[in-house]
Structures are given as C-alpha cells and as structure tokens.
C-alpha cells in the first residue's frame, strides 16, 4: 500500500537594509524592517492563510486520511509573532487535527552544520523547543536547510534522536535506484532516509504554470495518474516543496488552489494509495538498502550541491568571516549579540550572492532584495564590519 508524503517548507529570512560603508560605526540597525513586514504580510495573505484553509478543509473532508508535514523556520515564526499572530494560530488549528507533522531544522535556516557542530546543535534544539511550545509536538523528523545532506549529517541527526531525515532524491545519490523507497543512511542503525521525488515535486513547483511544457495544463487527475504509476514500484512518493509555491510563486487564481483542492481525492480514488507524514512513513517501512552519500547534496539549482551558497569567492569569504567570529561572539555572553550573529547566518544572505545566473537565476530572484550578487556581498560585508566592532579586541 504506497504512501504519498507531502512536506512543505515555510521560511522567510530577515532581509538586510541597504547598509553602506558610511553606516559602519554609526548606525547599528541592520534589518530592512519595512520590506520584511511587507513581504510577510503579502505572503501571509496570498499563501499561508488561504492554503492553510484549503489544507484544513481537506483534512476535515477526508476525516484524517489527508495528512501533510511542515517545516517552519524560527526566522519566520519570529516574524509571525511580531506581525501576524493569526498565521501562527492558523498553523495551530492544523496542529490540533493530529494530521500534521512539524519537522525540525536549524532555527535560522542556517548552514551552521558546515562550519560549527556546536552552533548547529544549539540552533536545532532551539527550533525543537519553539515547535514544542507553539505546536505541542516533539519533532521526530529532521531536514537540513535546503535539503543539504550527507553521511555525516545523518550520523549527527541519528545521535540527536531523530527517526527520519529528508534529502534530495537526485541520481548523484541514487544511481539506478528509485527515490520511492525508504533507505538507511550509511553509518546509521536506526535512522531512516526519505528522498524527494524531484520530478513529481517539480512538476508542481516549477512546471505547473509553464505554458511551453508539453503536459500543460496540469490537472489533478493527470497528476494522480503519474503518482499511481510511480507507486507501482515503490513504497512512498515524497513530494517536497516550498509552501510559497501555492499562491505566491504560482498565483492562486492561476488554478493551483483548485489543483490542490482536488488532488487528494484523485489520488485516493485508487484504493491502494494513502497519505502519510514522514515520521509515519519511517515508522512503517523498513529500509530497502543502505545509501552511501559521502558528498553533500541539496535540492538547489541543477547542480544539487552546495554551489548555490558556497560556489564563489564572495560566498566563501562572507561565510568564513561570519563563522570566524563565533568564539568572540560567545565570549561576550550577550543574548542580543548572539541573536544578531545568528540572524546573519540565514542561508538566504549567501544565496543572494550566487553568480551562476543559469536557468536557476529565476529562482534566486524569489524574494531577492538585491539587483546583483555583488551588491548583496558588499551590503553583507559592511554589516559584518559594523557587527565585528561589538566583539571587543581587533575586528576579524
């Protein structure tokens, strides 16, 4: 009996304001408050609230047979608490149904795992606590920022007590194997690995509105047929995508809301198919094979590696400078300082500095406040320069 596993990523960074060299040492306000508030308001109205309503209705309609998972970053939860409490309440109503799983990640949607294991653990724990406080769940599933994954991450995640971890189902990892099974990460004994079916996931998130696509327009019954076909040789179809796909990247009135409304019914027309959350999938299926992933993979760009954040000299310089400050930041023992340093860790800051400019450049433009990656770098480095003046001693 194959399962369909939906997980939606929900995140908004704290964008930085235009910060010039002449602001250093004179103005310590880094955030672009107005832009952050406006973006949050817009996406809440266009996506979070209306899509939550659709999901809630679907859960009620199918009496618990429709189930989904969310990973909501600390960055956006903080912003919701500040500007849109109603969005939090809306997610809480979904939590109350018992059909929604909340997934754990780093609080600030960061790349800390690549630079500081200690910082990584602290951010994961603070996110876990936040989820517990707001949604009353103790997360069993872990996903790293942008589905970054390798063997080392899996081992760390297993040690931290999780039952499942998510990753990109790319051929680089799978070879000839199918993403539609549960795997066991190399070096782990209990942890289960769920892999994103990127073709079916991207059919919705990238191709849905592409009029040049041979399958355009995508209808729920057509898509359900593809899912049924995929389920013939698999245990679980993992459909992982950004929640903002619905209503923000794809406008709600372009048909994506109707698509979402009718999809569960179409999939469950086939009696063998059901919906499960990642933790439920991990609890039910045994791994079919051990999967060895020595090198990092992610769900970003065509490369599916770290190059979207660590692909050029700008990004490397910014990240190394930032994480080089860790011991100084900690020594100061100031909550406010630590919080700012963490806000600066949000991976989006480095994503904006990407100079690849291929087809994926479009995706890099989503919510991007900069007109060029060089502007993103200059702005970020000016902020870091000012921030370093609070750390005592010589700057970095």
């Amino acid at each position: 009996m194959p399962s369909v596993c939906f997980y939606f990523q929900i995140h908004q960074p704290l964008r930085l304001r235009h910060y010039t060299f002449f602001d250093i040492h004179s103005d310590h306000e880094y955030e672009h408050r107005e832009q952050n508030r406006e973006t949050l308001q817009r996406v809440t109205e266009r996506c979070y609230l209306p899509v939550n309503r659709i999901i809630l209705n679907l859960i009620k309609k199918y009496r618990g047979d429709f189930r989904v998972a969310f990973s909501i970053t600390g960055s956006i939860l903080d912003q919701f608490e500040k500007y849109r409490r109603d969005a939090i309440e809306s997610f809480q109503r979904l939590a109350d149904t018992g059909c929604v799983e909340f997934i754990n990640e780093t609080y600030y949607h960061s790349l800390a795992f690549l630079f500081s294991p200690r910082e990584f653990k602290e951010q994961v724990i603070s996110h876990r606590n936040k989820v517990k406080t707001l949604f009353g769940q103790n997360p069993k599933t872990f996903r790293h920022t942008e589905l970054i994954y390798n063997n080392d991450l899996a081992r760390m995640v297993e040690k931290m007590g999780y039952a499942a971890v998510l990753a990109e189902g790319t051929e680089r990892v799978l070879g000839w194997r199918s993403p539609n099974y549960v795997y066991r990460p190399a070096g782990c004994h209990k942890l289960k690995l769920l892999l994103r079916n990127y073709r079916l996931s991207d059919d919705i998130s990238f191709r849905f509105s592409d009029q040049k696509w041979s399958e355009y327009p995508l209808t729920a019954d057509k898509y359900a047929r593809w899912v049924h076909d995929a389920g013939k040789t698999g245990d679980v179809i993992n459909l992982f995508m950004d929640y903002e796909t619905f209503g923000e990247h794809l406008k709600g009135d372009a048909g994506v809301f109707d698509f979402l409304r009718s999809l569960p019914g179409e999939i469950m027309k086939h009696p063998d198919f059901r919906f499960q959350t990642p933790a439920e999938v991990a609890g039910e299926y045994e791994p079919v094979a051990r999967l060895d992933v020595p090198h990092f993979v992610s769900w970003a760009d065509v490369e599916r590696d770290l190059s979207a954040w660590l692909g050029n000299a700008l990004q490397k310089d910014a990240l190394h400078t930032l994480y080089g400050m860790e011991s100084k930041v900690r020594r100061r023992k100031k909550e406010e300082l630590l919080r700012t340093w963490r806000m600066l860790q949000t991976s989006d800051h480095f994503y904006y500095m990407c100079t690849k400019w291929f087809a994926d450049g479009d995706v890099h433009d989503y919510f991007n406040p900069y007109s060029s990656p060089y502007d993103a770098y200059i702005n970020y480095m000016n902020v870091l320069d000012d921030f370093s003046s609070f750390l005592g001693g010589k700057g970095t």
């Binding site: 010039t20 060299f21 002449f22 050029n312 000299a313 700008l314 490397k316 310089d317 100079t355 400019w357 007109s371 060029s372 060089y374 502007d375 770098y377 200059i378 480095m381 000016n382």
Partner: protein, 430 residues
C-alpha cells in the same frame, strides 16, 4: 551587400567612442562578406577639385597590422576634406577653423550691433560655422554616392544625416540612421535646438533607425516622437587588440588607482567622480584617483579638487591616446564610468579586457548587457563611494567580478552586432 557608410575616423587616428564603434562595425560587416564604401571627414585630406580623395586599401596607413589586411580589401576608404569631428561643438569648430586659417590673411569684419565682435570671413574651403560645415560636407560627400553603386546607406549620428539623405535622393536606396549619441545625452536639458531638429529630421527621414541601447531607444521615442517599431536596438561590442596581452603587468598592491577615462564634460559625470573620491579619501587616504581626458569641465574640476584639498591624490592626465590608454588601464585597480547619460559606453568593456573591475552608471546602455559590473545611479555619490571602497577593500569581490567578466566578454563581439545590422538593412528594404 554593398554599403555606403558615412562614418567617423579610421585607425590609427582614433579619438573616441564613435570612431571605435564605426570601425568595429565596418570591420565585422566586411568580415561577413559585405563590402563597404567608408566615407569619413578628414582635415586637409587633399586639394582635388571634387574635394574627394580616393585612397586605395593598400595605401591606408595601418603599419604592420597584417591582422586587418584580408578584411580591408572589402573596405574602400574615402576621405572628404572637412573639419568635422565627432561630438564637436560650435565653439570647438570655431577654434579649429581659426587654427586652420591663422596663416591666411583674414578679412576682419566688425558687426556694428555687437561691439568688438570679430567674424572670420572665410569663403574658400570650410563652412563658417559648424552647421554650415555639416551642410557643405553633405554636398561633397554626396559626390561619392553619385559615382558608385550600393544597396544601402548607413550613417552615424546627426552630422552625417544630410550626407546620407543626399545620397538617398540621388540613388533611391534605403537609408539607415545609427544613433550613438543624442543632443540630450551631450547637453542635458540645455539642448542646441538646431542639432535637435537635424536629429529628429534625420530619424523621421530614415527608413530604419539603429539605437545602441534600449536606453537610447527610449529617449528617441520619448523625446523625438519616433515610433518604436522603426527602431532596432543593436548593442556595441569591443575589439580585442594584440596589445592587451603584452601589457599585463602586476599592479602595485599598496597603491590603488581608481580611473575615470573620458571627456571631462557634463555628460560623463566627472563632478560625481570627484565628490565620491573625496568621500573615499576620508576613509582610505592612500588611494590615487586618475582623471584621464579633457573637456570643458576640466578647469572647474581642477578647482573643485583643490577646494576639497585632495589634489595630492587626484591626477589629471589630459587627453590620452592609443598606448597611453592601454597603460592607464593596466595600472588601474578600478574603472568608474559615472555618466549622466551614456547611450552605450564601450570603455567599461575595454577596462574589462584588462581585468579591471568596473562601476558604471545605470543611466548607460552598456549596463543593459553587463551583469558582472557594479551599478550605481550617477547622482548617488555616497553609493558610488561605498562601492569604490568595497572594490578597494575586498579582494574576493575583485576576483569574482574579474573572473566572471572574462566569461561575459567572450559573448560580446562586433560580429554579432554586424549580423544584427545586416538584418536591419533587410528590414529597411534591401
């Protein structure tokens, strides 16, 4: 195709952007198999009664540059004796005219209305003022149109409009007007009405218009009321010269040089450059700023530099040519083009050929094709200084920009421009 081109300058005597562009286009067109009759004004070009000098291709002074040889066979260069130079003003024309005739007995005529006003009354050769010279040039240049066969007429900017229109009248062939610069770019809102009228008349009469950027196309539609359907945008490119490689020398890491290169006129934004330099020097007192070029705003700029007390760090080189330009590019750590209104702007591409990172104003055509340049609004002096400091301070930024710019340059060729221009000829009715 056979093209009658009313162009500007030819190597080795090149003074700026328009000549560089005309030559790049002509060379690429002939490389595609088209032949070009290239008509250019040149001072004292000869004394034949027709004022037309025929220079066979083999006699064109291109010393040791075998590189051009094959291509030049399809370019027939003809010099027309004239004082016209690209972007010359009435004042510059007058002074050039005076220099030409200083040895002749000049008949002075005093205007009674204006006390002490001197007029040079010269009737023999060149026109008494710029517009007359433009008209005289058009009649002379047109002689070439009569004596040759061609399929299309291609003219560059307002000074050659009448020449092209005369040639069209004689031959009935389609006329393509290529706009590299408009009176609004050169003079802001204080335009010379006569020049504006000639530009508009030329664009109205042309069968097709080529604009060097969307930026320029927008000005043509907004300020001259020309239909956008008549205008094709063809971006300029840059030629690689052999010299580039031989000049690669190490820059001095402790003495950073920021370069301004261009005419020191209102259009090029030298004042923003000086103000930004002063802001940068407050923070990084060791930087050197070089202003290479000449122009009517130069005295004011020298004065301003003195007022700001930054004379020690700001150097004026005057007008640079040929190998001097190459040298100054190789010495520079940053090139800044703060133009107020730049229809295209080839020099940032030249700087990139020398691995120099560039900051360009958004009010430029070249910013439409460059992704790996830093961009600013010409009036935003603080942001200009902010970005200058970033380039001087962060080696990673320079590394990334330079590396990506090399890739970007690989796709910028005159051949591509020439192919697009050939398409425009067909649209014009060839």
């Amino acid at each position: 195709m056979r093209i009658l081109m009313f162009g500007w300058e030819f190597p080795p005597h090149m003074s700026g952007g328009l000549g560089t562009a005309c030559f790049g286009i002509t060379k690429a067109l002939s490389g595609l198999g088209h032949s070009v009759i290239f008509v250019i004004p040149r001072m004292n070009a000869g004394d034949e009664p027709s004022h037309v000098e025929l220079v066979s291709a083999s006699k064109v002074p291109v010393p040791k540059q075998l590189f051009y040889e094959g291509i030049l066979k399809r370019i027939d260069v003809r010099h027309v004796d004239s004082l016209l130079r690209p972007y010359m003003t009435q004042g510059q024309y007058a002074s050039l005219l005076r220099k030409q005739y200083y040895h002749l007995p000049v008949r002075r005529r005093y205007d009674r209305g204006k006390k002490g006003y001197v007029f040079l009354d010269i009737s023999e050769k060149y026109g008494p003022d710029l517009i007359s010279e433009v008209l005289r040039y058009s009649k002379v240049a047109c002689v070439i149109g009569k004596s040759h066969t061609f399929d299309v007429i291609h003219a560059h900017d307002w000074m050659t409009v009448f020449a092209a229109m005369n040639a069209k009248k004689v031959s009935g062939k389609p006329f393509v007007l290529h706009i590299h610069s408009l009176e609004f770019d050169r003079s802001g809102e204080h335009i010379n009405r006569n020049i504006y009228d000639i530009e508009r008349y030329g664009m109205e009469s042309a069968d097709r218009i080529i604009a060097v950027s969307h930026y320029t196309k927008n000005i043509i539609t907004a300020r001259y009321g020309i239909s956008p359907d008549k205008i094709s945008v063809v971006h300029n490119a840059v030629s690689r010269t052999e010299a580039v490689k031989s000049y690669h020398i190490e820059r001095e890491p402790d003495r950073k040089i920021v370069l301004f290169l261009g005419r020191i006129t209102f259009q090029k934004g030298p004042d923003s450059f000086v103000e930004a330099a002063s802001l940068v020097l407050n923070e990084l007192p060791e930087v050197t700023f070089v202003m290479a070029g000449a122009g009517d705003m130069m005295p004011r700029m020298v004065e301003r530099v003195a007022e700001l007390g930054i004379g020690k760090n700001v150097h004026f080189t005057g007008f640079l040519q040929g190998s001097e330009v190459e040298r100054v590019f190789t010495m520079s750590d940053l090139y800044v083009m703060p133009s107020v209104s730049e229809p295209f702007g080839i020099s940032p591409l030249e700087a990139m050929l020398y691995d120099v990172p560039v900051i360009i104003s958004r009010q430029s055509g070249v910013s439409e094709i460059l992704r790996h340049a830093l961009k600013i609004d010409f009036w935003d002096v603080k942001e200009m200084a902010n970005k200058m400091i970033a380039v001087l301070k962060y080696p990673e930024l320079v590394e990334e920009m330079v590396e990506r710019s090399r890739e970007e340059l690989k796709n910028i060729h005159w051949e591509t421009a020439a192919q697009q221009i050939a398409k425009v000829y067909r649209l014009a009715g060839v």
